[in-house]
């Protein structure tokens, strides 16, 4: 399982990377952490003619809390996000999701941008992005553009990025102060690919009802999905087990096409989605209460 040949370029800047992408067209792929791409290349599932290595573009490796939004450079390693003090303090849903990506060595190389752009239906960061209404910033030959996350994930391993574009930033609006959040994942073993995962954010009003809820799921559809029916089921309701159960049912029922494979059937993934939503709402709400 050795990879096929390719021509290799190490880009030193975004401009250089974009130039190479434009020049080499369809046959070119960007390589960042490579944790997914090199796996595919070793198995000869993909055979890009050109690899554009963006690991040296230092300007894309940053975590910047800006005024209520976390701006994360696409080249930021997952391990960095996992441990960044601002992230763990103010955006635990992201830190927890990052901490569950693969294993240590995968997180050391894998990047936030790579994870998001690879758009694995079971990837952990996509539901966080969906739950927070993230904005993905891309740059292309014609300049930059902002892509709302709702328009970003198109299908399994497909995003709305153009082949000549490079994802440069992920902008995550932070939840309101006092909100609680969590990322939960269920895997077959203690660690490993999640069968399903959920990102949950809950804000409570003074009267103990849910003033805001965000829920997004991974592993249960062709892309990560925002569980809007479940959110609607809890908004304005009292924070309680019953409320969470209703949300869980709504979330499970709304799933159109959960994947089925040797690890879990569609039916079981649907069931897990419900379990995860219920448990995550409980954790997030408890954290919200804890704060206020």
């Amino acid at each position: 399982m050795k990879p096929p040949n390719f021509k290799y370029y190490a880009a030193r800047s975004v401009e250089q990377a974009l130039g190479l992408l434009a020049e080499h067209g369809d046959g070119a792929r960007v390589i960042a952490g490579g944790q997914s791409l090199v796996q595919d290349m070793n198995a000869r599932r993909v055979a890009p003619r050109v690899l554009i290595d963006v690991n040296s573009i230092g300007e894309l490796d940053f975590v910047r809390p800006e005024d209520g939004t976390f701006v994360i450079g696409a080249l930021t390693r997952t391990a960095t996000v996992e441990r960044d003090g601002d992230v763990t303090g103010r955006l635990p849903v992201l830190a927890e999701a990052a901490a569950r990506v693969g294993h240590v060595a995968v997180r050391n190389r894998g990047t936030v941008g790579g994870n998001v752009a690879h758009a694995d239906p079971a990837g952990n960061l996509a539901p966080v992005a969906l739950a927070l209404d993230a904005v993905l910033v891309a740059r292309g030959p014609d300049g930059g553009r902002d892509i709302a996350v709702a328009d970003f994930f198109v299908g399994p391993h497909r995003t709305s990025l153009d082949p000549t574009e490079l994802l440069t930033e992920v902008r995550l609006p932070a939840p309101p102060p006092g909100a609680g959040s969590t990322f939960l994942e269920i895997s077959r073993r203690g660690r490993g690919w999640g069968l399903a995962g959920v990102a949950a954010v809950v804000a409570l009003g003074d009267d103990g009802t849910v003033s805001e809820a965000r829920l997004a799921l991974s592993g249960v559809g062709p892309t990560a999905v925002r569980a809007r029916d479940a959110e609607a089921a809890v908004r304005g309701e009292r924070a309680s087990e019953e409320t969470w159960r209703a949300a869980a049912e709504a979330a499970a029922a709304a799933l159109e096409d959960p994947p089925s494979d040797i690890h879990a059937s569609a039916d079981f993934r649907r069931h897990l989605a419900g379990v995860l939503v219920r448990r995550a709402l409980g954790v997030a709400a408890a954290r919200a209460e804890g704060r206020s």
């Binding site: 390719f6 021509k7 290799y8 070793n42 060595a105 050391n108 203690g190």
Partner: protein, 183 residues
Amino acid sequence: MMQEDYLTVRLTVNGVAHRLGVEPRRLLVDALREDLGLTGTNVGCNQGVCGSCTVLVDGRSVRSCLMFAAQADGAEITTVEGLARDGEMHPLQAAFWEKGALQCGFCTPGFLMTGVELLRRNPEPGEGEIRDALAGNTCRCTGYEHIVEAVQQAARENSGEPIDTEGPPEVDIAAEVVRGEGS
């Protein structure tokens, strides 16, 4: 037919600088094992799953079967061969030996590199943290328990706590082993 060039890659491996000429597709694990003769790092799957190929690149643990040698240009790499110094084992290697933390040894270099990184970052890890950190390294022989004990031993040593005396933990045979009446 082939569009690729040979690339010159500069790597420092276990403190020794090298210049290698490699195809872009040459995986770091193969450059280390075959081009530099450092066969201590093993290929368990070449699928990026088992962790046997783990090395340290600029101090971070990396699956060397998921990295092209070209991507390590300019990096400082540590393999298992770089752990012992002047004929003396690294404390983690010594702890593995004392605790019987290896049987076939094939996964062991990968575990050592992951363990070295863990202890640098977290000098006093709890058992759960150790197991979690080691989750990306697969062992088929030991059942992991002695490996966890070895990491704990090395952590204690680092922190200056008293450690076990030479040799694996003594099993109190007299008390534990109930000899049968025989036949």
